[in-house]
């Protein structure tokens, strides 16, 4: 049984890795690189509707 499990583990791991690589390739093709790279450090989308960021006081240094 353990031998079968070893082969099953190899096959499942290969399948998972293949799916992730294919999904990543699909996303890379379907979406503009600027969109994929558009995340901004510290930007909170919940605060992008006019709320004042909690951590901010004063102007940008």
């Amino acid at each position: 049984m353990w031998i079968i499990l070893e082969y099953a583990a190899w096959a499942t791991a290969a399948g998972i890795l293949l799916w992730m690589v294919m999904d990543a390739a699909r996303v890379n093709r379907q979406f503009n690189e600027d969109t994929l790279m558009s995340s901004k450090e510290g930007v909170d989308e919940l605060l992008e509707h006019g709320e004042v960021p909690e951590a901010a006081e004063g102007g940008k240094g």
């Binding site: 049984m1 353990w2 070893e6 082969y7 583990a9 190899w10 499942t12 791991a13 998972i16 890795l17 799916w19 992730m20 690589v21 999904d23 990543a24 996303v27 979406f31 690189e33 600027d34 969109t35 994929l36 790279m37 558009s38 995340s39 901004k40 450090e41 510290g42 930007v43 909170d44 989308e45 919940l46 992008e48 960021p53 909690e54 951590a55 901010a56 006081e57 004063g58 102007g59 940008k60 240094g61």
Partner: protein, 465 residues
């Protein structure tokens, strides 16, 4: 829960990490990474300093990590960005320190992930041997656990850390069940502290030497900071999750020492592979053995899971700032995870794991972590000096400043000395690696960095500038 991208003012779709986490996820991330250290590794401190030496290491290193948790809670509740200490270093100390800290984080977590996967593979090999199959190859299971957890991380942070909460809580419960199972209210019935506890076998130098293994009790609690860009309320969730996390670990570490030192002689305990599981076997209860076996598996899995989360956030954050190729700064538009960073770290973790050198991999992970802790007190003192209390809003203000920073620095120096006693060559090799990497960053990489863009915090100018 929506996973749609946000529209910015300019009309371009913005895809960022998803803010969906709460304090329990932060707790699950920090404690999940660490708890495996209660199931194995800490006990090598017994081999250096005896049972009492290991208890001193448990509490002294516990103090080191309490300082880490307090400092991290204050800084990261203010610098709420993926990358954790990397982002802190970038804003407070500068790019070169940030690059080094980012690299410490990626190396520490990726190596720890590899070690965790090796542990899962080894445990399955033990299970196979007990069922009569002696020659199980652990490698397919090592790759499978890394692939499964990477898939989970790839598909979304909420499910990843919700699962981590469940398996971490179960692993912690197994320690509590063992503690109750050995009837601590009846000393001498099962626990034999009176006969097993001895004088310090190698004196006080042995106690100092044991500090390097005391780190296993707590290594990784600082990983809570990596969730900063994905928690709903950083100023509340991060300090709450981190401080409850270190409290949980202090309790788990003390219970672990108490149970193991009362069941196993220090000579055995000091070199055991799975001490808590061995302690459960000493009770003669099959149920406790099953609980502890499952607890060990869960702890190793939770640790690997949290490590993938943290290493990928640190790598992603460095990519976004162009400290690494910018390509890694992409976010999956559906799952809202740093998918390219998750993917690229899989072969690196597998290759570390395939070396099979668990002790070396863990040592390099610990040394990278220790370098990261040494930067924190300097970072904290500069943070308070440049932005004194009242100049920016903080989610948490830690008490007694600068005492925690001074204590942390003193304990880091002591632990470096302890590490030098046991792993001097590896320590020097690690230093050389980071010096070469720093030279590469300064001479080759930094020219690609957009210097103004990397400072994103909406803070006033620092005092003195």
């Amino acid at each position: 829960m929506t996973a749609e991208a946000t529209n910015t003012d300019a009309g371009q779709e913005r895809v960022g990490l998803l803010r969906v986490l709460g304090p329990v996820h932060v707790w699950a991330l920090g404690v999940g990474i660490v708890l495996v250290g209660e199931f194995m590794g800490w006990n090598f401190s017994v081999g250096k300093g005896g049972a009492f030496g290991a208890l001193i290491a448990c509490w002294v290193i516990g103090l080191l990590y309490t300082c880490v948790a307090m400092i991290d809670s204050e800084v990261t509740s203010t610098v709420a960005a993926a990358g954790g200490q990397y982002a802190q270093a970038k804003h407070i100390m500068g790019p070169l320190m940030a690059f080094n800290v980012g690299l410490y984080l990626v190396m520490a977590y990726t190596m720890l992930e590899a070690a965790d996967a090796l542990i899962v593979g080894d445990l399955l090999a033990i299970l196979a041997a007990q069922s009569g199959y002696e020659s199980l190859d652990p490698r397919p299971f090592v790759v499978l656990i890394i692939a499964l957890l990477a898939l989970l991380n790839y598909r979304g942070v909420f499910m990843t850390l919700s699962l981590n909460f469940i398996i971490t809580a179960a692993a912690f419960a197994s320690i509590l069940i063992l503690f109750i199972g050995v009837k601590p209210w009846q000393p001498g019935a099962i626990l034999q502290h009176q006969g097993l506890l001895t004088e310090l076998p190698y004196g006080w130098i042995g106690v100092i030497a044991s500090f390097q293994f005391g780190i296993w009790y707590y290594l990784g609690i600082e990983g809570t900071c990596q969730a900063a860009e994905e928690v709903r309320s950083p100023s509340r969730s991060l300090p709450l999750g981190t401080m409850t996390g270190i409290m949980t670990l202090l309790i788990a570490a003390t219970l672990t020492w108490y149970v193991c030192s009362g069941l196993l002689p220090w000579q055995y305990l000091g070199q055991a592979t799975v001490p808590l599981y061995d302690a459960s076997r000493m009770t003669g209860s099959l149920l406790l053995q099953i609980f502890l076996f499952v607890g060990t598996m869960f702890a190793a899995t939770a640790s690997a899971n949290g490590c993938i989360n943290d290493a990928s956030r640190a790598w992603f954050s460095m990519g976004r700032d162009r400290y690494m190729p910018q390509w890694f700064g992409a976010v999956h538009p559906v799952y809202r995870t740093p998918y390219r960073s998750i993917l690229i770290l899989i072969p690196i973790a597998v290759s570390f794991a395939f070396t099979g050198l668990l002790d070396q991999v863990i040592t390099f992970s610990i040394l990278s972590g220790l370098l990261g802790y040494t930067f924190m007190p300097i970072n904290m003192i500069l943070f308070r000096r440049k932005w004194p209390l009242g100049t920016i809003r903080r989610g948490y203000v830690h008490p007694f400043h600068p005492l925690p920073a001074i204590v942390l620095m003193a304990l880091c120096v002591t632990t470096f000395f302890a590490t030098y006693l046991g792993f001097g060559t590896q320590l020097l090799a690690m230093m050389i690696f980071y010096i070469v990497a720093s030279l590469w960053f300064v001479l080759h990489r930094y020219k690609f960095v957009r210097r103004a863009d990397q400072f994103t915090m909406n803070w006033p100018k620092p005092q003195g500038y």
